[in-house]
Symmetry: C2
Subunit: 458 residues, 2 copies
């Protein structure tokens, strides 16, 4: 049997690339290499996805599902003997229901396409992340994407009301629930969300939409110790009464990096504080929201939780504040960054981050360390910068120093990026042998031949 | 082998009731009958739960886990040859972490005990329902409980960060995650939440806490048609900018019932409107929140969305408003209520509820029909009152009329109460054959002998 010819017979000649054509495509927006696979199938419907899977299942061929290829953990890498299923032709926004506040989409729709489509109904799809223009909603669901506003709206898991998935053997599970409350039996969609394509291929989604906020208030503050950062989080969350939408912490070194040349960002406050926080509130009443935000900031200042603050006076200020937080590209200057995405209890963060620098110095010698993240969610991004020529040699040593201490307090080696291939060797730090065993039982129950995204996660 | 003696040898004589002692206990707070089982085990630790399950697994004995016995769907009924595992001795609140805003509890802790324990930290556990004093957190998790503030804080599923469960064979799965973001492999806890004790016995939980709101604004409004009810929901959700905490709709007949003798409630507004809504906002700044709430109400009135409104002037008013909504007991006067807990798209509600009365009249003759519910979540409680002597005969006919139309628009036969035994014959209305098959695959993977809560759900 020939893979390419067989699949072409099932879903059409134009819908299947052979190995040579597949190899002309980039492996992803951050990747220097190209795709490799026996074939790349581009089904246009759930039925076609099912046909491809049924054939692969019958012939024992591995299947790797691909969305926008913006993942960071090699979760969608394929091997030369496997078939890639790309959802690039399943880009229909099937329905937006402004009364029910739901959207029904095919899995290949990009995050940004949906964000823009719901705007005219004064609605918002609250997931947001840098790769919005390329990342697909199917990929967001398969990896349980996080992003900047998890503290208010949750992760992708919290926004998926229903989904349709194709199992390894081609069975279509249509579970397109539109209801916020539905306790009619097991909540099957939960299995597929965050399973990184190893339990099924997500083909369609029903997503929950929210009212579009119309006002925004922000501040960029300096804080003199970590206890005050944690205290400031609770203070603002309480004082803003349900409207806190982001709480992004930056350790001093990161702030100085993104507010000093060659970075273009100007420092909104002094550069000598140990910690900085960008705090954002979204609401609906410009005057009252501003008054409340300013009251909350004033109280924080008076109680000593913050020692310096710049408060946004315009949307331009807000964009400027976010641009500083998002200017992670600066870590590319003067070296190569090793990027981590961990989460840990807030009570452990100070000790962990204080110990990390010396531990890295002992293990790898000179380096630069940048820390920032979604503090309200317990999620820190740790970036260790080393010289390009040392990268491959030092990377495993750095991973060891960053991950190993997490085991003591049940920290996570992946807050939001997922496991893929990259973090699989470290999954045991965050999960017990029993948990890993149960994951394998689930995998075996749904995909006994192991054809879905072989070797990833478990 | 003797069940009672065997279990006593494992966890102690005082920890196991025999069949006769078990039969002296009530089957639940709403139930006229008593428990029946071969034995009732009261383990004090997860290890003891594991011992009991291991024994039952080895001997092919069915196990029914019981919490506070406040469920409404016969989800915890046991048979004479089965073993009840009661978590009544696992009532420790192990830890409240005010910085991480988490609580770690044993599964037998009541909802109210946790609500009260976190107050001193100015925190809130936002799940709330009438049975709070008896219902256990383990039961809340096993049934994915809902309640009054789902629109703001979600269901129990959204509040569980981690859990520990014992599998059918006695394996302890400890997945006590404390982190809001954790994508380290499959999110195993999701399987156990809402599975009604059929996949494992939940023994401990890590729960997410929220800041305690300090202000509350409410209104009780009259609305002249259903479109305006739906429009008022969107208007208030948007205008309150993240602080809407309840949106409870009442059809006219229910309002008149709870505001007319023998009910003690006084009508806050006229009794002739077709629809009523109780709307609540919780915040943090008394003056600004009141101003915003009143602005939002004024705009609603001016645009014609509401035609009459009573706005709370005090906490006493708030209690009075809620007391009307909660006075479901009035449906016990003059007949016997058949209580439903459905959910359906908002766009279908008007047609569904308008058709239901005539359909019931044709099927069962004279009856009374009361409708109210958590409209913001798509969840309606439908109560059909019939005469006591007709109850048993009419009940299946009523179920048919209430459930059958839901199939056309993917409504749910259970928004929040679960399936248990009561709704199992109707589960197919809300779930396809493929979904039911996948549920059975999961059940088989985790409990191949079928000893956990036999016959429930799937």
């Amino acid at each position: 049997m020939d893979v390419v010819e067989s699949l072409r017979a099932l879903i059409g000649a134009g819908a299947v690339l052979d190995a040579a054509d597949t190899a002309t495509r980039s492996a992803g927006v951050w990747r220097p290499d190209n795709l490799q696979a026996a074939a790349l199938a581009r089904p246009a419907t759930t039925g076609e996805v099912a046909k491809v899977l049924r054939w692969c299942h019958a012939n024992g061929v591995g299947v790797v599902t691909q969305g926008g290829l913006t993942g960071l953990v090699h979760g969608a890498d394929a091997a030369p003997d496997q078939v890639i299923v790309s959802l690039e032709r399943m880009r229909a926004i099937e329905d937006i229901d402004p009364r029910q506040r739901t959207a029904t989409v095919q899995a290949g729709v990009t995050l940004q396409a949906l964000q823009e489509a719901v705007e005219e109904h004064h609605l918002m799809f609250p997931l947001d992340l840098g790769a919005r223009g390329t990342a697909t909603l199917g990929g967001n669901a398969a990896t349980n994407a996080g992003g900047n506003r998890v503290i208010r709206y949750g992760m992708m898991r919290d926004m998926v009301l229903g989904l349709e998935a194709v199992l390894a053997d081609g069975t279509v599970v249509s579970s397109m629930n539109h209801l916020i409350k539905n306790n009619a039996g097991y909540d099957l969609k939960q299995m597929f969300i965050g399973s990184e394509g190893t339990l099924g291929v997500i083909t369609r989604l029903v997503l929950r939409l929210r009212e579009q906020p119309v006002t925004r208030n922000m501040a960029f503050v300096g804080v003199d110790n970590f206890d005050h950062v944690a205290g400031f989080l609770r203070h603002m969350d309480r004082a803003l009464g349900g409207t806190l939408s982001a709480f992004e912490a930056m350790w001093g070194d990161f702030y100085r990096l993104v507010t000093s040349p060659p970075a273009k960002g100007k420092p909104p406050i002094g550069q000598d504080y140990p910690f900085y926080v960008l705090v954002e509130s979204q609401g609906a009443d410009s005057e009252l929201d501003t008054q409340r935000f300013n009251n909350a900031m004033e109280a924080a200042y008076e109680s000593g939780l913050v020692v310096d603050a710049a408060i946004s006076q315009s949307e331009t200020d807000c964009h400027h504040f976010w641009a500083l937080r998002d200017d992670v590209e600066q870590t590319l200057h003067g070296g190569v960054p090793v990027i981590f995405d961990i989460s840990l209890p807030i009570a452990e963060m100070d000790t962990y981050t204080t110990s990390l620098g010396p531990a890295l110095a002992a293990a790898i010698g000179p380096h630069r360390l940048f820390i920032f993240g979604h503090l309200g969610d317990g999620n820190l991004h740790v970036i260790v910068q080393v010289q390009a020529q040392d990268y491959l040699r030092l990377r495993p040593l750095i991973e060891q120093q960053v991950y190993a201490p997490l085991a003591a307090f049940q920290g996570s080696v992946s807050a939001e990026h997922g496991i893929g291939l990259e973090k699989k060797p470290y999954l045991h730090i965050s999960r017990s042998a029993v948990e890993l065993g149960l994951m394998r039982s689930l995998k075996h129950a749904l995909d006994p031949q192991g054809i879905l995204n072989p070797g990833k996660v478990v």
